[in-house]
Every structure is written in structure tokens, then in C-alpha cells.
Subunit: 498 residues, 4 copies
């Protein structure tokens, strides 16, 4: 059985310690295992990053950026391999993996622009003959801890920006699907990154805690569930580090009476069931304003859902694949059960999913639930499965109150044609990423990703302009020169000519 | 005896509860006392701020800015009164208070530019006919906790920026010298600020903890000592708030062999002894590179120090005044004692300060100590008194190592004429604010203030561009409109015309 | 009879040369005359500006900004006097003059933010130990030539920005209504501006040509009609100056079938007839999409126009006042006549305007014309009077074609509720300033003003960020220091210690 | 004999009309000729660009940027071929051509960051519920006219930025060495650029004038000599186009008494003689402050110049190659003659250059002239050959006066170790690009290139941030939505649900 190790100081690194199973969710089989790093291994990675820092920070930014230019080329050249690795361990269909990779590459593209976004501000004559300017200097060693659902994209939110800013990096990817992450780390080395600038360790809470407590780690970026995000944030900040910790979500779409319903239906299919709903930006609740629109939408949705296909990752005809583990499959089904028990109406039921030939895979079919209420468990918590719940309200304000009262504030969307409704919604809703007729309003790589409320802990968001700011610290220099021996005076006798 | 109360929802507010003495340090007498807010009073202030938020956030930014324009006018008109209040309770000489006020006004001036610095970023066609933009929205209720040493300037670092960004504010100033702070809060109300947008509560740890734990408070700005800063940061972040907490300092100047020594001496006098050294940017350690420059500098410094005058705040001929309390005076003297006991050489001794007629004031004279070593207590800790310590090293690298090994990284300075030395120093030194021949490199209001290492907890600095970023959170909108019924089609039958 | 002179080097300046009549349009009488500067007088102003430049450019930007802070205060204090002067010589009603002044003050407010918008860009390590940064340095002497219709606002678009950037200025305002302009120039002097930094000369083509040909003038800003703008631009650029020349306009509103017609009507009244239509952003053509909306709009407009009042400037009950001269009145009437002759339908006829008691004033009443065609003289040219013309088209594309085919491209507006229509329009229309349900989309002072096509010659627009860019030129410094005698070496023998 | 044609609408294009000889300067032979476009051919190119514009402007910016990412890859892959083509027709040594190409590629890298630098500014609530934002829209068809001395780099300053901003382009490169330019245009097509977006026409004044007068061309970028730059600027602006026209230079270095002379000498060699001095940033005048430094510098320079090698472009051991034509060789020699005749002292004489085997090549050897005076012809005019002239002054101010009194203000440099001297110089010198110990202070691609005085006509510089600004025009949208039928009202009866 293949054992997946670590990547430290430019070398494959393994230690013969604990391991954990890595499954192929499409088939339900286990073909690999992953090494679980000890504290010592993590410290080795940190030490490697620390050692690589001085030379890397002094490398001109354009040279750092050129490693990213080359990295982009390599990611594109090896896209098929990367998508295969994602599919094999995560279960998402290869076209979905390709989409993930593309979104990740966009962050590499943005990182290529570092010479622009790392500019400081220069002020002439802040006082008489006194100038002042700021420099955005790298922090040193920074760490990233990333989730299973985007084994390539979320790491690419972090380390390209951190590294192009002059930092060195220790990444702890998800132990569920580590291979694709390790693979792209090696591509970055091929792109010319010096050894030790990027290190990858696989592991569990031991690795996480080592990163959180080691004083050499200056900053931590995290994406995962809210309870863990909160733990990461509290622990990292208690140890004096800067931290950005992105947590869970419950993303609502408001469907207004004037919405283009065909557009609503077609876009909700992808937004709710794509990647089996295992996305922090998945659109999992549709709030219909008025029963008329609700009934129409449900009729069209349930019809359209008949055509959805799911199955193994390598079949491009599938719309979505398995969920990550058997445990997670059970958990998603339990949420559907609870909704049913608490009074909601199961319109389309995906609980009996078992594609022929892949009966042992971890599948859940696309599920549509109507009559969901705010006090139901399936509404209050994040399901992270292919389940779309419908709620009904009387007007837009009720819909907005629902959203604002929810614990999470990651993404949301309104479907309308009306400029005023859209503007009122986007202005007032307490959510960080807002779509207007766009169900998955993930900001492009040159903006920044972040939710409000308990969806994000910290003040700077992931990637884009905020990423640059998070991975640098400000130094402000104020400069005045003593007057002018050389310029005005007896300069001909100065010894430098002798 | 005058009792100083709170300022809540546009009203003077008092409760008959605990009080604490407020001294006149110049004379050592107590003429006033200050109310110490109960949790209930603080919650009243928070509730007022919460209630004022919706209308204030929706006020166009130019109107918010105009309140700041008017506030600047009022601060200038009432400068004498403000400086008198500062001097009376803090002890600094009125010309020093005027300098503090001026620095504070500069932050108000910067806040007037909010329409510019609150602009979001607009991207056309992030996809086909899809636009995306960011808005920097206010947080809600934010809190500031400020130290005794700048009762006007440090609050003005915070609330003008927070408020002009659309937040409402609860300020807890130092209970040592609250009157000037309260006075300027009232001026802001006169400038047209709606009731409840700025609230001031005096208090102690009870007030602080109430602010740190109340879920309505979205963010906390703090300036004070490092242990408290760390507590504030850990507690605020553990409660899910964003936080910037500025702590202590030990600011070194490197004096290079080619420095302009007369400039060194004259500028060190102000930087070390101004405001009795009670500044987090006070220059408290001079590191001479080579004995030659050390001896020359000490000779000139000790001569120049003979002319320094200290005494009551209202006498403009004084260079500096009393320290804040009798306890603090004793602490400063104890540091000097410890240096002497640990082997340093007291060149000029200010321990017996007692200006005629003001013998009971809390005075410490300007003190110069030579032969200070890195392991001495007086070096390791922040003295916050009029004490300048001299260290001797053999070369610039040794000097830089000293600075980098110190716990704090607030400010530093190099005296040299040489471009290369200055550039190497400013590039590599692990300090956030660097002066080149500028001993107090406090960034101007249109840059941002913040140290490195244990001088600042958080990732965004005080005031300036970082202040704007700290007091707002990003919202990113992605927008696509359904195609074109109105533009292309059968629009003449639309009901909006009927 | 009062003779209005010049303001040069901080002094009132008159020469006994040519003069020109200044009328009171409200009454039609002449009470004043204005000196018409000779080339020599203009050269005197240029020389004064040239002499004032070196000290002013070296004045720290925050001090330059503080003159603007004070200027704002004085403009607000003297608002009544300024509006009186505007009304007396221009004829606009005092509340309209107050609006003009307010818009002008907003440019002063923006100029107060110069420390922010004059920041250069600093790049560390563009090569090994090489840094590079940009400085936005002032140009020297710059000139402004401004029109009669906004004697206060348009000058305030120019000289506050130019001056706060460190330039010195020669302004040639309109000789029709020079008094308000001269008055505010004196207020700026009171605000602390050094003599010679702002100079005002009244004059005609002689003055203009002197400014255009004098090699000491580095840049010219102009607002006026298109033929003159083109002449100014060609002449200034042929003489190697930078130039921005804003010309005429023909601003169309598209009224879509889904528009809020009551809003259309009420907002068109002000946009078409305010200031007697003597605004380069006046909304002079309403393009109705479909006869249904056209008929409805005309019915409501003609009803609402009955309530409009016009008369002398000092009566606040008036909605608008006289036009600038008797000649201009005749010209506006001739345009109405021509429309009638060419087949358009005069719905409301303002040609017989003669308010009781002011029969000799230069009045034209609000005029509404239907059935206007693209080949009519009144459509092809700018009327600059209180005349609103209605055109009828079958769909939005036809309306857009009309606008795009017109010579001018200053401002435009669409009335709709539909997000898609608005977005398509604003994306594709060849006009520089676009309103969505906003009939006068004059950019606020923190954006920039400029049209497309023959409405603007040059590449940088008026005021706001472009203003800062226009009034400065870039200097880029690239810096490397020779290695390290002082830092590393035998520094103890350096002579600066002796 | 090979005939070099045009590249229009993605196709090789030739017409059988006039031709002009293309020489190999290294050998003096003619192997090729170039077609000289008629007005009709140029109009065909313009029409192709015009036709390609609508689709290209609507292509999302990230997709436009990705063409540039791919273009960078192709330029790197084909570097040898490009350098060969440059050397063959221009004469510069292949390592110098590689440097030129690298500088050009840096502009392509910068263009890849278009999603960042094309962001507009978004302002919420400029009034109650009114938003305003700016968009930087492309201009349409823009033209570039480029010089012989950088057949790859200067075109790459222009078209990547113009095209990534959404414009389409007509390039007229130098007819002396057109092949490399055509080659890279074809690479850009290979990178995925749609046909017609970039067109290249070879030609002379006929082509230039066609571009300057055609109303479809919106903007013109030019680099060449000052008289032509002025003609281009006057003609383009007279035709209502925006224009940036970069002209000649006379770049001085001040050598201060405290300069690191070995560094001065080694860096001047490359800056004066590299590319045979055929660079607008060539350092052609060294101003020594004091005879002591002058004598020392001349002694070391003349010694070092003995080791310089020149000869054919393909021999990497050569330091520089031939000049562009026999005529230009004669002109350079005539300048040296005139200096000698007017009293200067020829220290090293390159007039008899004739490398063995290449006696017919257009060679001039490295020449050093002392005792140059400001009134000599060789000082007043740009030589554009491998000639370094030395002047002697008594102090820095005299040196600065020399520079400021010269017609040109492109680049300059000071050699010193002293911070104050460097800062005074860079602040006050009237030159656009300033080096501090950097003899060729060409701004990196993420800053902008431009001189002052008669070295540049226009207000926006080449490439970098100014390039983005030059190739776009601002559109400002102000938006308010009518209140809320959909949001608040009787929305259930709306027809969109039917």
C-alpha cells in the first residue's frame, strides 16, 4: 500500500510513525495511507522554512514573481494529473476538479503581479526636507491549514501569495486527500522555488498544535469548519500570531417574484449540488418570496433534478460524485432524516444513492426539501452535502431577516431584475460575499474572499489585496539627512578620493 | 471636589458609584475624582452606540467627513483649554500638550479625506457581463481603550477614523487624566455628531472587561503596556472581535561614527526627556558605535542637559514636567537605582528633583546613564521616565543585534550621513517605525503607526490607511443581470407604465 | 461706475486700459465694467506666479493642505456674499448659486486630502539592494480659463487642486461675471496663501493667447465651448504645454417604458431648466422609448412646468433666472424659432418671457419641444438655455445610436428600473458621465469630471484623482548605495568625528 | 532579396510598391528590403483594428491577460531567434539584444496584472442611496510609432499595455530593423490574440501621417527624436487625439568628490558605450565636481576603455557593435570632430574603428572627450554614439545648473555616498528619471518611463501605471434606483412569473 509522506526542504520526507487511511470515495476502497507527522517532523519543516527565509526575503520581488509565472505554466501542463489525483481521493468529477484547479491558478496569476501590489507609499516633505515611506515586508515563516474539499484551490489561495510576498511556508493540507496538494508543491519546486521556501506536512491535531504554538511561525491561515476555525484563531492569537480563520457557511438565495426563474433553476442546480455540496460557498437554502414563485421553482427544480447524474470521478458525464467518507455520507443522510422528522417535506430524495458498479462508494443523491423552518437542525447547521432546502417567506425583508439571524455570513444571492431590490439587499445584508443573480459569488482572485459573522475570524480576508496585506507587515521609515557637508562644503579634501 | 463623569448618548452621565482620585502631578495635590463605571454604565454606552449605528452608517460619507472638518475647527479654537486640561492632570508642559493636540488634529484632518480612502474597487467584466466590486462597510460598535500619556492624541488616533468610517464608538480613556478626553468628545458633538455615535466611559478593569466581552462590540483598539495589550488582544480575539493592541517599547538610536553629533545631541534631548519620557516612542537608549563617538556624545549631552528645565505644566519655560503619579516617580527612580547597582554609571542624576515651590510634585530630573548592559533591568524593561541610557558597541551589526534581540520593536533611529548604512539598517532592523536621523519616527497621520514583535498585537496598525482598513470590513458583490426583457423586448406592455 | 480689476501677487491691480461692460442680467442694466488685461498685465501675473513657485513647492504638503482647510471655512462663512455676487452678474437664483458654491467647496474639501493623493509609489529591491520610487512633483506655473456659467464652481475645480499640489496659478475667469471669482481669490489669500501663488486676471483673447504662448506656463485647464476648447488645446499643446480643455455638450436622457415617470418629470424639471439651462451638464434632450411613455411624460411635464417661476436672482421663490446677456437671449429664442420652422412642435413656449418689474432682464421661459429630429439645428447645436427637447424612438438601441452619433459626449442618463438595461447602457454608451436615474451625473469631487468625443480634449479630466495627476509630473528615482565603508569598515578614522 | 512586408489582420500582407534597403550594420551589406506602406495599406490596418475592437473590448480582462501570460512564454522560448533578428539589422551584440528583450518581457509581465490595474473606484452613498463608480474603458484603435534603437523593447512598452486594456493596435516600427518587431507580433498571434487586434505596418512619413490624421485612431504613442516627437504631438493633438511623444536626451552624471570612483568607472563604461550609445538613456556626459575627481576618473576610464571590444553582433565577446547606418557613423564622427575643433580634448579616439574582417561595418570606437563646454555643438545636441564627454565644475550647484539649462530632461545620475547630496539632487533636478549611483535609471516596468522638458510631450508617461492610464479613458457612472416596487410592494402580481 502506498504511503504518502511529507515534503520538507525540497525533499520527500517520511517518518515511520502513525498513518491514516486515504480512501477512494468513488469506490469506497482504501488504496493508500498517509503519514501523520509528529511534532518533531513539523518542527523540522518550520526550521527549514526559517532557514530559507533570509535569502528569499532579499530576492527581488520580480524574481519571486517569475517563479509564479513558471508555476502557472506547470500547473496548466500537468492539469490532467492534478485533476486525477483530486478525483481519486476526493471524489469530485474531473471537470469539477478542473474548475477547482482553474480557480487556484487564478490566484497564482494574481501573485505574478506582486511588484505592483507590494508597492509602499512614499511621501515627500512630511516636514521640511523630511521624507517618509512605507514598506510592506514579509513576516517570516507562515503556516496554512487547509480542508479536504478543495485540496488544490484552497492551498493555492494561500502559499502563492505568502511566498511571492517573501515569506516561507509550512502547509498542512487535509489528510483525507493529500496527494494533489503534495504534487503541486513539487511543481512549484520545479518552477524554481528554492528548497525550504514551501514545506508540506501531513498530519492531524498534533501538527496543527505544533504550528500554533511554535514561536517561529508568524501567521496562520486556516479554512475549515467554524468550531475549528475559532480554536485556531484563539490559539494562534493567544500565541501572538496574526491569524485568519475561515469557517462554515449556510448560503441562502432569495428568489424574488420578478426573478428569471429558468435562470434560477439552472444556476441553482450547480450551486447546490456541484461537488456534492461540499463547498463553503454551496447554495444550500433557497428562500422564495411568495408561494407562487416557490411552487413554480420547486416544480421546475424537481423536474430538472431528474437529469442529474452522479457517479465515479473519472466519468465526465457525471454532474457530481461521492462525498468524502462513509461517515460523512451517514451524517448528510441524518440531516435529511432530521428535516423529515421535524416536518419538512422531502421533494426529491437522494438518500438511497447507489450507482451501479459503485455501490460501495460514498454517494448521496441530489435532495430537495420544501417547507424548511428556521428552527430545524438541517437549517441551523451546515450539511455539506447535495441537499437544497426551500423556505417560503412573504416578502424580501423576512428573507433578509432569516439570513441576518443565521450564525454564518459567508455568501448569499438575490435573484431579481430590479435594481433597487438588488442594491438594498447588497447594501444591508450581513454577509461578506453577495451575488446578484450569481449563486456562487466567490470573489475573483483579484478581489478577496471572506465571510462575516462566524464564517471568518480575523480582519483580513483570503487572497487578493487582503492576502497581500495579511502576509506582510508595514515598516514606516522617516528620513532626514544632516545638512550638506558634501554638497556645499569643503568637499575637496574628503578622504574617499585618496 | 469635582467629580468627572461619563458622556453617553450626547449627555453628561454620572452614577453614584465608585470613584478614583485624579491628581495634579505638577503640585502633587488631588482636586478631582473620576467616576468608575459599573458594567451597567458601560452597557448603557454600548446600547447607545448600537442604537445610533443604523442611521450613522447610512449617512453619506461626505456628511460624516464634514463633521470632522468642523471638529478640526473646534479643536483649534479651543486649543488653550484642551492643553490646560492635559497639563493639569497629566503634568506635561502646555507647549508639549499643544504638540500632542496638533498630532491629534492631524488624524482628524486625515479623517476628513474619508471619501477618498473608503473607495472600493470596481472590476468590469470579471466574466461575460458580470461585474464585481468591493465595499468597505463599517463594523458597528467599536471600542477604544487609551493610556494616560496622550489623553488627547491617542483617542484622536482612534475615534475620528472609526466614526468617519461609519462606526459608532465607546471610548474608555485613562482614569488618570480623563478631563481633556471628555472635553474633546463634547466638541465633536458640537461639531454636529449625532448623539450616541461617540460615548466616553471612565473606568477600570470592570469597564475594560465589559467592552471585551459584550457581543455587540465588534472591534477593540488599545494602546498601553505590553502585558495589558496582550490580555486585551487575547480576550477580544477569543470573543471573536477584531483587535489591535499596541504595547510597550524600548527605542534605540544607533549613533554612527559619521553622525552629525551636534544634531544627535540636540535631537536626543527632546526625544529622551520630552514629556518626561512618558511616550511609547521616547528614545531611551543611545547605542554608540565606538568609544570615540560615545565619549564625545556623552560629553556634549551632559553639558546640554544642564540647561534643561522642568517644573509645573503652565510655565512655558519648562522643557518637561512631572510624571503621572507618585508611584510612577518611585518606579522610575527604582530603575535608576537598579542600573547603578548593576554596574552602570550615572552621568547625570535626576533622582533628587524638587523644583522650588513644587516640592510635592511628582518630578524626576533628566538622567543620563553610561555603560548600560543588555542584561540590566533598566535595559530590559520600559522605564517611561526621563532617563537616557547609553550603550557602547564595536560596530553597527552589534548595535542592530541588540535592537533585534529586545522584546520590543516599536521605534528606532540611526544617525549617519551614509546612504548605505541607513538603507541597510532600515531594511533589516526588526522594528516597525524607523528614523534616519529622526529620533522620534512617529509616522505622520497619512501613514500608519505600529511596532513589531511584542510592541503590537494584531495585523493592522493605528490610524492612517490601516486605521481605515481596521474600522471597516470588506463586502464583495458579484453582479449579473438576466437578459434584457426591458431592453430588447416587448417592453411596451409592461405594467410599470400603467 | 465700478471698475473690476485684477488680483496679482496678493494685491488688487488695475491698469487703465480697455474695459468691458458687466451687466446685471436680472434687470438688464449695467452697473459695472471690467478691466481687460493687456499682455503686459498677464505677464506680470505669470511672473508673480513664477516667483512664488520655489517656496511654495517646498512647503510641506500638509501645510499647503491647511490653507485649503481654512479656505473652506472662509467660503462657508462668506457664502451669502459670494452668492449675491454670482446672482448679480450671472442672474442665477441665490439658492442655485448656493448649490454652485457647495459643489465648489467640495473640491476644496478634496484638495484638503492632498497628503494622501500625492503619495508616490515605493518599490523595494527592484534589483539587488536597489530601490525605486516615484514622486508627483508640481509643474510650476499653471493657468486656468473659466466660463461665465459657473463663476465660482469651475475655478474651484482648478486652482485648489493645482495649488495644493504645489503649483502657482494664473486664473482668467469669465469677463461676464468676474466679481465672485475675484472675491474667492481674496478669501484664499486670507486663508494664508502666500502672495503670488494665485493670481487672477480679467481679459479676453489677448489674455488667453498670452497664457497660451508664454513658455513659463506649464499647463492650461479650460472649460467653455467646443470650438474654443479645441483652439486652446491645439495652441497649448503646440507650445509644448499639457492641456485639458472641456467643451460643449448635448446631454440626452433615455426614458424607458419601465421608468418611474413621476421621478422622470420632477428630476427633468431641475435638470433642464435649472440655471436657465446654462450648464454643460444640463439635460436638454429627453428620448422617449415608445410613444406611450412619450405622451405620458409630455403630459406630466407640461403640467408641471406651469408651476415653474423665473425672475430676479435675489428672490428665492424663483426656480431660475435670466440668461447671461441680451445676445444670448436672442440666440436661445432663435434656436426655438428654428425648431418650430423645421417641423418640431412647441409644447410650452418660453419665448415671451418678461416678469413684471423686470421686463428688461434677459429672460427666456421654460420651453418644451416635441417631435424633435436629429437633423434639426436645435438638436445638433448646444442651446444653453431653458429648453427641453423631446425625441421619440422605438427601442433603446435607437436611443443609444442617437446619443453615440452626436458630436458631444459629456453626460447622459437612463431612466429605468431594470438592472440589465442600465448596465448595458452604461457599459456601451460613448459618453463620459452616465446617470442611472440621475439626470445630472456630475461626478462628486472625489471622482473626476470629463466627457468623451468633442466634449473634452486631453487625457486627464477635471478635479478629483485626475486633477491631482494633471497638476503634477512624475519623477522616478532609482537608488543604489555603494557598499558600506561606514557600515562595515574602518569607520573610526572618518573625519566627521573630528 | 528578401522583402519584409506587413502584418495585418493576422496575415502576412505585402503590396508591390515602394521599398527601402535594410542593412546588416555589422558587415555593411544589404540583404533585405522592406515594403513602405501606402496610405491605403495603413488604412487597411486601421480598419482591421477597428473591426476587431468590439469583441476584444468585451473580452473579460482576465482572458486578455492570459494572452499576455502565453506571450511571455513564447518570447522566452524564442529569445535566441529574436536576438538574432535584432543583431542582424541593428548591430547590437546578442547579449545586449537579450537585455533589451528581457526589459521588453518585463512590460509583458506587467500587462499580465491588468485585472488589478484596471480596477475602477467605487463610492457608496455619494448621496442618499446614490452610488458612483469609475470604469477605465479602452479607447478603440491606438497607434504606436517606434525607433530603430530598440526594435523589440519599445514596441513592448506599448502594445501589450494597450491591448491588455482592451484596445486594438496599429504599430509602425522603424523601417531600419523591422524583422524582430514583426516576429514578436506573430508570436502574440500564436499566444491567442484574435486577428486584427495587433497590426504592424512598415513605412515612412506617409504611414505616420496617415495614422496621425485618420479619425479612427484615438491615441498615438511615439518614441524617437525631439523634432519628430514635437511634430507627432502637435499633429495628433490638433486632430483631437491623445498623444504621448518621447524625444531626445542628453543624460548627465554628476560625479561627486565622495563617489566610489571604481564603481563610477565600471558603471559608466556600460552606460556610455553599451549599444554604441544608441539609447535615449545613454549616459553621455560625466560632470566631475572638482579637477581632482575629474583627473582620477579620466585616468581610470581611459585605462579601462582599452579593454573594450567591438565588432559583429554575433560574437558574444564584443562589448558593443556597429551603429545603425553609414550615415549615422559619419554623423557621430562629425560630432567628435566638432568637439575637437571647438577646443575639447580627445582623450580616447574611436574615429578610426575598423575591426578586422568587418571593415565595411558601420563602426565607431569608444571615445572619451575632456574639457567639454556647454556651448559646444557636441554638448548641445544628442550624438547617439559611443562618445562620453567630460565636463568639470567647481561644485554640485554648477553641475545641477548645467543639467537644468539643457534642452532635454530625460535621465540623470549622481554618484555619491552622501544621503543629503543625493536627496537634494533628486528633489530639485529638472529631469524625469533620476539615478543615485545608478547610471541608467530606466524605471522598472511597474513604474513609468518619461522625461521632462523637451524629452517628452504629453502628460502621461510610457508603460507601467501611466501606460494603463494613457490607454484607457474614464467613465463615471452615478446610480440611483427608483424606490422599491419590487422590494416593498404588490410584487406578487408581476408578469414575470407568468
Amino acid at each position: 500500500m502506498q504511503t504518502i509522506g511529507h515534503f520538507i526542504n525540497g525533499q520527500h520526507h517520511d517518518e515511520h510513525s502513525r498513518t491514516q487511511a486515504v480512501f477512494n470515495p468513488s469506490t469506497g476502497t482504501q488504496d493508500k495511507q498517509v503519514s501523520i507527522a509528529s511534532a518533531k517532523t513539523v518542527e523540522h519543516a518550520i526550521a527549514s522554512a526559517q532557514a530559507a527565509f533570509p535569502a528569499w526575503r532579499d530576492t527581488p520581488v520580480i524574481k519571486r514573481a517569475r517563479v509564479m509565472f513558471k508555476f502557472k505554466e506547470l500547473l496548466e501542463q500537468h492539469a490532467d494529473k492534478i485533476c486525477e489525483l483530486i478525483g481519486e481521493e476526493h471524489g469530485k468529477i474531473v471537470h469539477d476538479a478542473a474548475g477547482e484547479l482553474q480557480r487556484g491558478i487564478e490566484n497564482v496569476e494574481y501573485a505574478c503581479g506582486a511588484p505592483e501590489f507590494l508597492k509602499g507609499e512614499f511621501s515627500k516633505n512630511v516636514g521640511p526636507s523630511i521624507d517618509s515611506w512605507s514598506e510592506m515586508q514579509p513576516l517570516g515563516v507562515v503556516a496554512g491549514i487547509t480542508p479536504f474539499n478543495f485540496p488544490v484551490m484552497v492551498p493555492l489561495w494561500m502559499f502563492p501569495m505568502a511566498i511571492v510576498c517573501g515569506n516561507t511556508f509550512v502547509l498542512k493540507p487535509s489528510e483525507r486527500d493529500p496527494s494533489a496538494t503534495l504534487y503541486i508543491a513539487q511543481l512549484l519546486q520545479q518552477a524554481g522555488l528554492p528548497d525550504g521556501v514551501l514545506n508540506v506536512v501531513n498530519g492531524d491535531k498534533v501538527a496543527v498544535d505544533t504550528l500554533l504554538h511554535d514561536h517561529r511561525v508568524q501567521a496562520v491561515s486556516f479554512v475549515g469548519s467554524t468550531p475549528i476555525a475559532q480554536y485556531i484563531y484563539q490559539t494562534a492569537t493567544a500565541n501572538g500570531k496574526r491569524c485568519q480563520a475561515l469557517g462554515g457557511a449556510k448560503n441562502h438565495a432569495i428568489v424574488m417574484p420578478d426573478a428569471d426563474i429558468d435562470n434560477v433553476v439552472s444556476s441553482l442546480l450547480g450551486a447546490a449540488f456541484g461537488s456534492s455540496g461540499e463547498r463553503c460557498m454551496a447554495l444550500s437554502v433557497a428562500v422564495a418570496v411568495g408561494d407562487e414563485v416557490a411552487d413554480l421553482m420547486i416544480a421546475k427544480l424537481s423536474e430538472a433534478m431528474k437529469a442529474l447524474k452522479y457517479g465515479p470521478y473519472f466519468d465526465k458525464n457525471n454532474d457530481f460524485g461521492a462525498v468524502i467518507t462513509a461517515e460523512h455520507k451517514a451524517k448528510v443522510i441524518a440531516y435529511i432524516d432530521s428535516a423529515e422528522q421535524q416536518g419538512a417535506k422531502i421533494i426529491v430524495d437522494g438518500r438511497q444513492a447507489a450507482p451501479t458498479g459503485y455501490e460501495n462508494g460514498f454517494y448521496v443523491g441530489a435532495t430537495l426539501i420544501d417547507q424548511v423552518q428556521a428552527n430545524m437542525t438541517s437549517y441551523k447547521e451546515e450539511i455539506f452535502g447535495p441537499v437544497l432546502q426551500v423556505m417560503r417567506v412573504n416578502n424580501m425583508q423576512e428573507a433578509m431577516d432569516l439570513i441576518d439571524n443565521h450564525e454564518y455570513g459567508n455568501g448569499t444571492c438575490i435573484y431579481t431584475r430590479d435594481g433597487e431590490a438588488a442594491r438594498y439587499f447588497s447594501d444591508h445584508i450581513k454577509v461578506g460575499m453577495v451575488g446578484i443573480n450569481v449563486p456562487l459569488p466567490v470573489p475573483v482572485a483579484y478581489h478577496s474572499f471572506g465571510g462575516w459573522k462566524r464564517s471568518l475570524f480575523g480582519d483580513l480576508y483570503a487572497y487578493g489585496p487582503d492576502g497581500a496585506r495579511f502576509y506582510t507587515r508595514r515598516k514606516t521609515i522617516t528620513q532626514r539627512w544632516p545638512t550638506a557637508n558634501v554638497r556645499e562644503g569643503a568637499q575637496f579634501s574628503m578622504p574617499t578620493l585618496n
